[in-house]
């Protein structure tokens, strides 16, 4: 498993990293935790000539309060996301989903930014970012811009991040007091999602007041289950009402077919898992 030859730089600032990407041109690639990129290189599914390692940029790491939001540096590892009190309290769904990613080894290396930038439809964090209306900050030669999660994902393994741009941070509104749950379904315990549902619910006096639902691996990108959300709001948090709302889970999806699940099975799973995620979130 030997990758093709590449050069390697480890800049100390975002500006230097952007400059390195500009110099490297089309064949430059960002290296974050490496847990998606290195396997791809070793299998020679990609052959960049320059790797720009973001591991030396301190400003890309860490979690902080940012007014009414919680902001997470792109290079923050899953492990650090999981352990963080701010995340646990205000963005619980993110912690819950992160805990389902692979195993301890992967979680100590993989990064939130790397996961979102990689945009694997089976990756677990895209649906969470989408459901929770995260905002993503991207730095490039012309400065920085911020895009909502709903505009971030473009297709299979593609996002709006340009070739000379870097995802620097992800910021989440606070969902203090919301109930949430990530319901993941996979072939083996530590594998990617065949299908998963991210749900955050605010229940007020037994009635669902607000709902946010995102779907993993039900299309080329993560998908927001707006139909489910609309059907939930105003309903009592009962099994019957939730099951009826979950029937909307496949609206707007384009479920892939693969060896683990053909599209009809995925669609069925999406509905069942949506019901379970919402019930669990509603407590």
């Amino acid at each position: 498993m030997i990758p093709s030859k590449f050069d390697y730089v480890k800049p100390a600032s975002v500006a230097d990293a952007v400059a390195a990407l500009e110099q490297g041109g089309e064949d430059a690639k960002i290296l974050a935790g490496g847990h998606s990129l290195i396997p791809v290189l070793r299998l020679r599914l990609a052959a960049p000539t320059l790797l720009v390692d973001l591991g030396g940029i301190a400003e890309l790491r860490g979690i902080r309060e940012d007014g009414d939001r919680v902001t997470i540096g792109a290079m923050t590892t899953y492990y650090d996301v999981l352990r963080d009190d701010l995340v646990k309290e205000h963005v619980t769904l993110l912690a819950q989903a992160t805990e389902t990613v692979a195993d301890g080894q992967v979680r100590h290396r993989g990064t939130l930014g790397g996961s979102l930038a990689h945009a694997d439809p089976a990756g677990d964090l895209g649906a969470v970012a989408l459901a929770l209306d995260a905002e993503l900050t991207i730095a490039g030669p012309g400065g920085t811009r911020t895009v909502p999660a709903s505009e971030f994902f473009e297709g299979l393994f593609t996002t709006v991040i340009g070739e000379t741009e870097i995802l620097t941070q992800i910021s989440f509104p606070r969902y203090t007091g919301w109930g949430s749950h990530y319901e993941k379904f996979n072939r083996t315990a530590q594998a990617w999602s065949m299908c998963a549902v991210a749900a955050a619910i605010r229940v007020d006096g037994g009635t669902i007041a607000e709902a946010r639902v995102g779907l993993t691996n039900m299309g080329a990108t993560p998908i927001r289950a707006r139909g489910v959300e609309q059907a939930l709001v105003g309903q009592p948090a009962t099994a019957d009402a939730v099951r009826a709302a979950a029937e909307h889970a496949t609206e707007g999806t384009a479920a892939p077919s693969d060896a683990d699940a053909a599209s009809d099975y995925r669609e069925h799973l999406a509905k069942v898992l949506t019901g379970r995620a919402v019930m669990a979130a509603a407590g």
């Binding site: 498993m1 093709s4 195993d103 694997d120 379904f185 990617w192 693969d258």
Partner: protein
């Protein structure tokens, strides 16, 4: 885990932690890939991306001029076009055996077959240059379905053979005189209102042995003996076979299997890459090294299982089984592996299992397809047999409306009936199915779980409970050489051992087995410590190097303890006999008056005695020893077993099925195994746990699939879904012991038991959970999707096909699709 056998000695029966582990887990180990003699050259094999194609041209020029490249060679360049890799088990005299080349010359027969080899100064240079070798192919029709391949008019994998059928092997108890005629049993049952005939088809999917250390080989031509280091289970066989294949005199070869990281049968082979390294080392007069990547391993190392089983069982309505007919198709892949054709034949003797079946017939046809070859994989033939018989016993129970355990008990050999000669002519020496079953049923709470199952069915619980049974036996300890001879196996089944008593009283033990993760250094030390009465710490086990352990037949088929361990006992007996003579001489007593116990030779009725260490020193000094004997205690032995051993056990699984998603959750697993005398209960437990994991993996998780072009779709561990500890429950394993009477230790073998027994236990449990919903069969692996579809089908709802051969678009890595090496990743 507790053994009911009383330890008769100090060491045997002790749960020692494995002495080799300190070395293996702290990096003081030495795997083949860690060996790089000065001046080593590295190779990378250019492999065919196509399953079946004519090679119309190979352009090596760009690769030859790439940095670091020493040369790029085809079979013709190396003059090895006529070389054929060995098949040591021609199952019939007229077996069709195609030449299996070192590198394909004109036609490739499976995706992953080598067509050229790049030799370079570093592994990275070789890998880079391999991308520059341009091979032109003219695609031919792939041959993928073994049933279609066996039929008339099929596209031929090897047209010169005229057929895709390699051989058909038949055992008929009527012909053999060991039982009645199955044809008679079936027609009698068909015309008898008080009898029943049950027919089922089972599928053994293709599996990949998935050992932890990928295969590797280093050939060092320096010195008089050329040294082959290889990550192999079979260093001795490899040496002999290198002579057979390439003509290098055996005396000019030394084979070393250093630390080897697992094999599961997957390292029983003589590899094209090993032979390439030998040829290249001879040609270039430099050490040559090959280490495969994980993807190459999945693609090109031999696979296991892959059979279609048509089973017919006949019985009286009172439950008495009257006949068993077994028809198999076995996929050999593109060529015959070292023992591949014999793997299904090993199963022939195990379909009757623990039951008294009066008439039995077994017919197996081995078929060629354009896939990776199949060969030994943990259990080799016996898991397939055990699966079929244990599944059909459940089916028979359902047809007769009987409890599946009760029906088994009605038909199994009672403990007082041992020794028992089966319908295959094997004599089971000992066993006690009642004892193992009773313990297992109690531990499992069989009755309680059946009650819970009833309740869940009645209440329509979305989570249904299934109970799976497997009362298995297997044959271990390959093997009595004469039996192997009668099966045309290309070797004997003996094992060799040697004991060297060092001057200082320490002991070096030489074994011809080749441990690669089983903990044999520990178990063998325990045996020798007891035999010689020396401390465990004073025993060193040497193996895996033909210069150290010149004679042996290596490790596979649960033979190391049951055959290799007995050879040790025989060698130790000789050491003691020699030491006794010297002791008598030194103690001035008659040899008849010398007693030996706990390492001391004493004169009966006196307090005079000498420790074995003193005798060893006396033999070394040789100042004073008896006339007519050599001054040495060192002894060798070769042990040829008189019979197989027959471990057995009762395995019970409780599975929960989420009927909404199809997810199968293993809730409880209990097994009580009778493996005879337990040398080390901790190692036994480890072997059972690992075996269970692998057997459960076949039932629920693993499957190697090809797409319609013949491309393996499970080219990485993302797609070949090995379970981990997180997928398995905490097993409840116990051992009981009715010692084997055919060897002096009473041991039976435990390496394969878990794998053999667990697969049908799980699948029986899955079907049991779903049967009342109208589900009669779920193919392995019983993935959530398959289970869900089976439930939908039973409800009459049509669903899509289960696509087994589609590359996953997600999961980041995709699959390696050699036709589209860029995959979908941008």
């Amino acid at each position: 885990m507790t053994a009911t056998a009383e330890p008769t000695t100090n060491e045997i029966g002790k749960a020692r932690t494995r002495k080799e582990d300190a070395r293996l887990i702290t990096g003081r180990s030495r795997y083949t890939d860690a060996i790089t003699p000065q001046g080593t050259l590295h190779i990378f094999v250019v492999r065919s991306p196509l399953a079946h194609a004519k090679i119309t041209g190979i352009d090596k020029s760009a690769a030859e001029s790439a940095p670091g490249v020493i040369g790029v060679y085809t079979a013709a360049d190396l003059g090895v076009e006529a070389v054929g890799l060995p098949n040591a088990w021609p199952i019939t005299p007229d077996q069709k055996s195609p030449q299996r080349p070192v590198l394909a010359s004109s036609t490739v027969h499976f995706a992953g077959e080598g067509v050229a080899v790049v030799v370079a100064r570093s592994a990275a240079h070789a890998r880079d240059a391999a991308d520059l070798v341009e091979v032109d192919y003219n695609p031919l029709e792939p041959v993928l379905d073994m049933e279609a391949a066996a039929a008339d008019g099929a596209t031929l994998v090897h047209p010169d053979l005229g057929t895709n059928q390699s051989a058909t092997w038949v055992f008929d108890s009527a012909g053999a005189g060991t039982g009645g005629s199955v044809d008679d049993a079936i027609s009698a049952a068909e015309s008898d209102a008080d009898s029943i005939v049950v027919r089922r088809r089972f599928r053994q999917q293709r599996l990949i042995p998935a050992f932890m250390e990928p295969r590797a080989c280093v050939v060092d031509p320096t010195g008089e003996q050329m040294t082959i280091y290889s990550a192999t289970q079979i260093p001795h066989i490899l040496r002999t076979m290198t002579t057979v294949v390439l003509g290098v005199p055996e005396s000019k070869l030394r084979v070393v299997a250093p630390d080897v990281g697992g094999g599961f049968g997957g390292k029983v082979g003589v590899l094209p890459e090993e032979m390439l390294c030998v040829v290249l080392a001879q040609k270039l007069r430099r050490p040559v090294k090959w280490t495969e990547t994980r993807s190459e391993s999945l693609l090109a190392a031999h696979h296991g299982r892959d059979q279609i089983q048509d089973i017919t069982i006949t019985a009286k309505k009172d439950g008495t089984v009257t006949g068993l007919d077994v028809k198999l198709l076995a996929d050999m892949g593109a060529y015959l592996g070292l023992v591949g054709p014999g793997v299904p034949i090993l199963g022939a003797f195990m379909f009757n299992a623990i039951y008294k079946i009066p008439a039995y017939k077994f017919t197996c046809t081995n078929v060629f397809t354009t896939k990776t070859l199949t060969d030994a994989y943990r259990g080799a033939g016996r898991p397939e047999a055990t699966f079929a018989i244990e599944r059909i016993m459940d089916e028979l129970a359902v047809e007769l409306g009987r409890d599946p355990m009760e029906l088994r008990e009605q038909n199994w050999i009672k403990h007082e009936e041992f020794p028992f000669t089966t319908v295959c002519g094997l004599t089971y020496d000992t066993g006690n199915y009642e004892q193992a079953t009773q313990q297992a049923m109690e531990l499992f709470d069989y009755a309680g779980l059946r009650r819970e199952q009833e309740q869940r069915r009645a209440s329509g619980d979305p989570v249904q409970l299934g109970i799976g049974i497997s009362t298995f036996t297997e044959m271990c300890g390959l093997a009595p050489s004469r039996v192997l001879g009668s099966l045309s196996y290309g070797a004997g089944g003996w094992e060799a051992a040697g004991i060297r008593m060092l001057a200082t009283g320490k002991v070096e033990v030489i074994t011809g087995t080749s441990p690669h993760g089983q903990g044999l250094e520990t178990a063998f030390s325990q045996i020798v410590a007891d035999q010689l009465g020396v401390p465990f710490e004073d025993v060193e086990i040497l193996h895996g190097d033909t210069q150290v352990a010149p004679k042996g037949l290596d490790t596979y088929g649960s033979r190391s303890l049951a055959v290799g361990g007995i050879a040790l006992v025989k060698a130790a007996e000789k050491v003691v006999a020699k030491a006794k003579k010297i002791a008598a001489h030194l103690l001035e007593a008659s040899e008849d008056d010398i007693e030996f116990s706990n390492g001391t030779f004493s004169v009966r009725g006196t307090d005079k005695g000498k420790a074995i260490q003193e005798i060893a020193f006396a033999a070394f000094m040789a100042h004073d020893y008896p006339e007519g004997m050599e001054p040495s205690l060192d002894s060798d032995a070769v042990y040829d077993p008189e019979n197989f051993s027959f471990p057995h056990g009762t395995h019970l699984a409780a599975v929960e099925i989420d009927t909404e998603t199809g997810r199968v959750e293993l809730r409880k697993y209990v097994c009580v195994d009778d493996i005879g005398t337990v040398i080390n209960p901790l190692i036994v437990e480890g072997q059972v746990h690992g075996g269970l994991a692998q057997g459960i993996a076949q039932a629920l998780f693993e499957e190697a699939n090809y797409d319609d072009q013949g491309t393996l779709v499970n080219g990485t561990f993302v797609d070949y879904t090995l379970p981990s500890a997180a997928d398995l429950p905490s097993f409840d394993t116990r051992a009981v012991s009715t010692p084997s009477t055919s060897n002096p230790l009473g041991v039976k073998g435990v390496g394969e038991a878990g794998t053999i027994a667990s697969t049908p236990a799980i699948v029986n449990g899955v079907i049991d959970a779903l049967r009342h919903l109208g589900v009669a069969e779920v193919e392995m692996p019983c993935t959530s999707q398959r289970v869900w579809r089976a439930i939908q089908d039973a409800k009459g709802r049509s669903t899509q096909e289960t696509p087994i051969d589609t590359h996953s678009p997600g999961a980041g890595l995709g699959s390696i699709d050699p036709n589209n090496p860029q995959g979908e990743v941008q």
